[in-house]
């Protein structure tokens, strides 16, 4: 199976090192979440994947070969700041970007019409892009990026500024591309969306990789777990406080008891001790969320 491999890529702008050392692999057909705070180097990394910027060091390979112009034309790109010709009509715009990536006429228009229907843009097909709302412009942009059925689609902050309805439409489109076998790399600050969609993640900060892997792998490396217990009775609280490995967590707005325990703690034994102490209606070992892993990886946890 082919894949995208970044090996030790680095890129500076003058004295500023935007990317210091990034390595990861994206197996073909995978949906890959590239996460990091603002200024972490996500966009620069994406631009290097797409050949817009040349790395100072390291290499980018697709299916074992360096990424050249011919390869790049089989990639698609949705930049963070949308790029559309304001005076061009929606159908013409989508077809044009398709032709730029080698889709011949009349297939360009045929596919453009299919995407227009898929993204519910029918009533805007003959309107100028500059007249559309931001959400609809983003839909046009995704159609432009995907019309040539790219092998790899890179999406930089695809959900930023979208309302929930348009975000869901975009998610549907991305799920469709994923189902069709397109390799997707996307960055987003909307963790719940990205957690749902992606199979693999890479969290970067300060131009370096902090953690990378599937969510299961990231969770396996997480040192603690949270257990939630109901009801929040005094007896159960006393029993939990007596547990040497448990640390109480504040959950002000929820009627549960929450404690942090080591990942390898024997929670079954703990449950037995709690049942002996009082009535337990719920006992749950909560896996860390992607946002928890993210916050710890970038060193910003509370």
């Amino acid at each position: 199976m082919g894949s995208l491999v970044l090996s030790g890529v680095a890129r500076s702008f003058g004295d500023v090192a935007a990317v210091r050392d990034i390595s990861f692999e994206v197996p073909s057909g995978t949906t890959f979440g590239l996460l990091g705070p603002n200024g972490a180097g996500k966009t620069t990394t994406m631009r290097m994947i797409l050949g817009i910027l040349v790395p100072d060091r390291g290499s980018v390979a697709w299916n074992g070969a360096p990424v050249d112009l011919a390869t790049r034309r089989r990639f698609g790109y949705l930049p963070e700041e949308r790029g559309l010709y304001g005076k061009l009509k929606v159908r013409e715009q989508i077809a044009y970007f398709g032709r730029l990536h080698g889709v011949p006429p009349p297939l360009d228009r045929k596919r453009a019409d299919a995407w227009i229907e898929r993204l519910d843009l029918g009533e805007y097909a003959d309107r100028r892009c500059g007249e559309l709302s931001k959400g609809n412009q983003q839909k046009v942009q995704i159609a432009c990026a995907a019309l040539h059925e790219p092998e790899l689609l890179v999406l930089d902050e695809p959900f930023s500024g979208l309302d929930p309805v348009n975000a869901e439409t975009l998610l549907d489109a991305l799920r469709g591309l994923k189902a069709a076998g397109t390799t997707l790399i996307l960055s987003s600050h909307q963790m719940w969306q990205i957690e749902d969609l992606c199979e693999r993640f890479c969290i970067i900060a300060d131009g370096t990789v902090r953690v990378t892997g599937t969510l299961t792998e990231l969770r396996a490396a997480w040192p603690t777990r949270v257990i939630e217990i109901e009801p929040p009775s005094g007896a159960l609280r006393a029993a939990l406080d007596a547990e040497p490995q448990a640390r109480a967590l504040p959950l002000a707005d929820r009627a549960v008891l929450a404690y942090e325990v080591p990942a390898r703690a024997d929670v079954a034994a703990m449950l037995r001790r709690l049942v002996a102490a009082g009535d337990v209606t719920r006992f749950e070992r909560v896996e860390p969320r992607l946002s928890d892993i993210y916050m710890r990886a970038i060193g910003a946890e509370a």
């Binding site: 797409l50 050949g51 817009i52 112009l69 930049p79 790029g83």
Partner: protein, 405 residues
Amino acid sequence: MNTVGVIFSAEFERRIRSRAFLIGTVIGALAIGALALLPGLLGGFASSTKTIVLVGDPALTSAAAKLLKRDFSIVATVPRLAQTPTVAYLDAHGKASAVAVLERRGDALHVVAYTRDPGGMRTAFATDLAPLQIGLATGTPPSEVAAHTKIAVEEHDVSGRFADASQAVAAKGIALAFIVLLYLAILLNAQSIVMAVAEEKTSRIAELLVAAIDPAQLLFAKILAATATSFVQLAVWIGTSVVVGKTVAGFFADAPAAAGAPALGVTAPEILWFIVFFIIGFIQCAVIFAAAGSLVNRSEDVGSISGPLYIPIIGAYIIAQFALQFPNAPNVVVFSFVPLLAPFVMFTRVVVGSVPAWQLVVSISINVLAAVALAWFSGRVYRVGMLMYGRLPSPRQIVAAMRQR
């Protein structure tokens, strides 16, 4: 279709359909039409401004009237004035433009003109009335003197380029018209190139384009489209000048047709040289303006970055005007080799003068090489400029970014 072709056709279509192109082409055509009509109209104005009232002794005024016919129309002849003429007096005499009072002082003729346009008649009076002055001094009838002062003057071009002076004058008219076309085409399209490139950068379309196509190819396709668009514009303008010129020739049969209808009588070599120098000049300017556009981050900055780039174009236009009169002046010859200036200056020299073949070959070679060098340099600036955001970069920052790729 390859990517260059895709960008070329899209860019060409976008430019042809743009409001700026339509407005520029229509205004240009109207301006050229007006220029073609101008000599005829001015001829009409000129004739209406040369009506005069003659005042003086009848013997003097009758002899003078015959001589002044060449340049003036005499609306009235009176022996004397009751008072100094006013505008009302002129209006009452067929809206005459002047009153000329002739007086004999000894053997000399003295003319006092009361005119609406001081300074505009002195030469014509002095020239036309010279036989009368000689006649008064020598006693020879003025008509006889006039007959003897007709001198046949022939001008021959030593290079053999022009059969007679009228051809040379016509060539200057043609050269002037082409220089104006070249100037307008470069000026209008250079501005649209800056705007288009700046729009692609500020709207971040550049990132998408650069991801799919090599920036040098992108620039090449854009310049090609801009050149093709300006050719369409030129065709419209030249067509307009031909049509209006023919109309003018019909309406103003006596007007100087060669100056009024510059496109008439244009030869194939002149068109060929125009195309050659237009392509060279246009590419030299277009690549520079495209590079400038790539450095702009806000549309408000377009003027400040492209403004200085107009200086060599305006300079070339002014030098070309000088070259029309003195095509072989040493400084004109030097300027006809200098990139950015040569397309205007050498073209003018070729049309109105006799340029040695070696000069033409050297000038074209230098300028083609300069166009390639400018395209290479601009391509590098364009490549980095399209992805540089923030404040307008300093020259040092541009060079550093170019080194960095």
